[in-house]
């Protein structure tokens, strides 16, 4: 058990935009996998307005791209193909943040309806074995390594998860969490960052991670 005194860190208060990123163009990719409003609301609380769009030009011209997602992998991939986002996303050079299903779609392949994904991360997404309740739903801790995403976040902070599929540990893992088995709660490769948990629903810790992505990555 953690010591209570040590587990109540002080966070820098959000909602003051960094002057260097004040005019950043942040795009949230809109596709048929919800939760876009929650992500844009979290950014508003941090003082940032995001453009919500599936327009390829808008996405290409963004300074930061966020790829949220709640839903099912194969239908989401189908939509990405129809809109040619499946070709555009891997070519992007600006900082890119996949969230939840967004992380899984950046992997190679998902067991969820045997879906070929975007292959940014060379790992497969598997379903949790039914040894405990699935989905993994609720607050669990992340153990992270050095990454800009986690600056000013205390290690082993709690964040909010809702998912039935996971990416295993690999060289791209920057945070891991244990539920039934250890899995990647965050991945990074070059400009691509991804979180299995929902920063937009993870209290002050989640807001700090989003702020770091926008201001430091």
């Amino acid at each position: 058990m953690k010591n209570i005194k040590n587990s109540q860190p002080e966070y820098p208060q959000p909602a003051t935009r960094n002057p260097n990123t004040r005019n950043s163009k942040i795009v949230i990719i809109k596709y048929n996998a919800g939760n876009v409003y929650s992500v844009s609301s979290a950014l508003k609380r941090l003082g940032y307005d995001a453009v919500i769009t599936s327009d390829l030009k808008e996405i290409k011209s963004a300074d930061k791209v966020i790829f949220p997602g709640v839903g099912e992998a194969s239908s989401a991939m189908e939509y990405l193909k129809q809109t040619k986002l499946d070709k555009v996303i891997p070519q992007l050079k600006q900082p890119f943040l996949g969230v939840c299903l967004g992380l899984q779609l950046l992997c190679n392949y998902s067991e969820e309806r045997e879906t070929k994904c975007l292959s940014i991360f060379d790992e497969d997404v598997k379903r949790f074995p039914p040894k405990e309740k699935v989905p993994h739903m609720g607050w669990n801790s992340i153990k992270f390594s050095d990454s800009k995403l986690f600056i000013n976040v205390p290690n082993e902070s709690f964040v909010y998860f809702v998912h039935s599929y996971f990416a295993g540990l690999s060289d791209n893992t920057i945070a891991e969490t244990n539920y039934i088995l250890p899995f990647s709660s965050a991945l990074q490769k070059d400009n691509f960052y991804a979180l299995q948990f929902h920063p937009e629903k993870s209290g002050k810790v989640g807001e700090q991670i989003l702020k770091n992505f926008i201001e430091l990555c």
Binding site: M1, K2, I4, S7, Q8, G34, N35, V36, Y37, S38, S41, A42, K44, R45, V70, G71, E72, P130, K133, V134, P135, H136, M137, G138, W139, N140, S141, F158, Y160, V162, H163, S164, N178, Y179, H198, E200, K201, S202, G203, K204, G206, E207
Partner: protein, 251 residues
């Protein structure tokens, strides 16, 4: 380690909290959003908003409220009350709700569960169950506990989970309002039987009751209303207490 969740529940009517809110430092105790923000700051893990508005304007008011909640609150929340069709669900999820909960409408039309789960995923479908012991049989009630149905607890929740429910919010009418503790036996029974999380509700009176429902009732989460609203139990204190009793909580 996955932690046990503490969930305050707010009853809403016409966009306002209904009754029994007694926080001295709230500007407007009737504003669900301000109250929700307060609970989130105090360490609530999730919030449940139950809308009991009966007017035609209900749906629009609720969607507006859900948007305001999502804009201001940084933890997950569930919305319920009068959801009878899959179309209304879309609007609530798009407005930032994480989960919706159905109760009477699912009993009257179990197919509603399949429809919502197939379209939006099981993770966002919470089944609220009101149950009461009638002559030794654990029966299901609808219409806010007014109508006894033919369903018994175990067959109903089992069928509902098969149809796609992702979480059970279990309220024992025999315990609700008594402050004598949660219904440990049925909570444990459901939690061990079902592959989905079980939220225990009804009967919370002391911090020890929460220890019981997590340790002996095997609940994944515990929900309460009045003891939080009247400040009888403060959420952060409760979570520290649970932590000292070796129950994993987010602090």
């Amino acid at each position: 380690m996955l932690t046990k969740r503490i969930i305050p529940c707010l009853d809403i009517k016409d966009g306002k909290t209904v009754k029994g809110i007694n926080f001295i430092d709230l500007r407007d105790a009737g504003d669900p959003v301000e109250l929700g923000v307060k609970y989130a700051e105090l360490g609530a893990d999730e919030l449940v908003f139950l809308d009991i508005t009966a007017t035609i304007e209900r749906r629009k008011t609720l969607v507006e409220l859900v948007k305001r909640i999502a804009l201001n609150i940084n933890i997950p929340f569930t919305v319920g009350g009068g959801i009878k069709e899959v179309d209304g669900v879309n609007e609530l999820l798009d407005s930032g709700a994480d989960k919706i909960t159905v109760n009477s409408s699912a009993v009257n039309n179990p197919n509603l569960i399949d429809k919502i789960a197939n379209r939006f995923g099981s993770q966002c479908v919470v089944l609220s169950v009101d149950t009461k012991n009638v002559d030794g049989i654990q029966k299901i009630f609808t219409d806010g506990g007014r109508t006894e149905t033919d369903w018994e607890l175990l067959p109903w929740v089992t069928e509902a989970v098969e149809r796609g429910v992702g979480e059970i919010l279990l309220t024992s009418m025999d315990h609700d309002g008594t402050k004598n503790g949660f219904a440990l036996e049925i909570t444990k029974q459901l939690s061990e039987l079902l592959p989905v999380p079980v939220v225990a509700s009804g009967g919370a009176g002391t911090m020890e009751h929460f220890v019981d429902v997590f340790k002996n009732g095997k609940a994944d989460a515990a929900l309460a209303a009045s003891i939080f609203h009247f400040g009888e139990i403060e959420i952060l204190e409760l979570k520290k207490y649970l932590n000292n009793k070796n129950i994993p909580v987010r602090l």
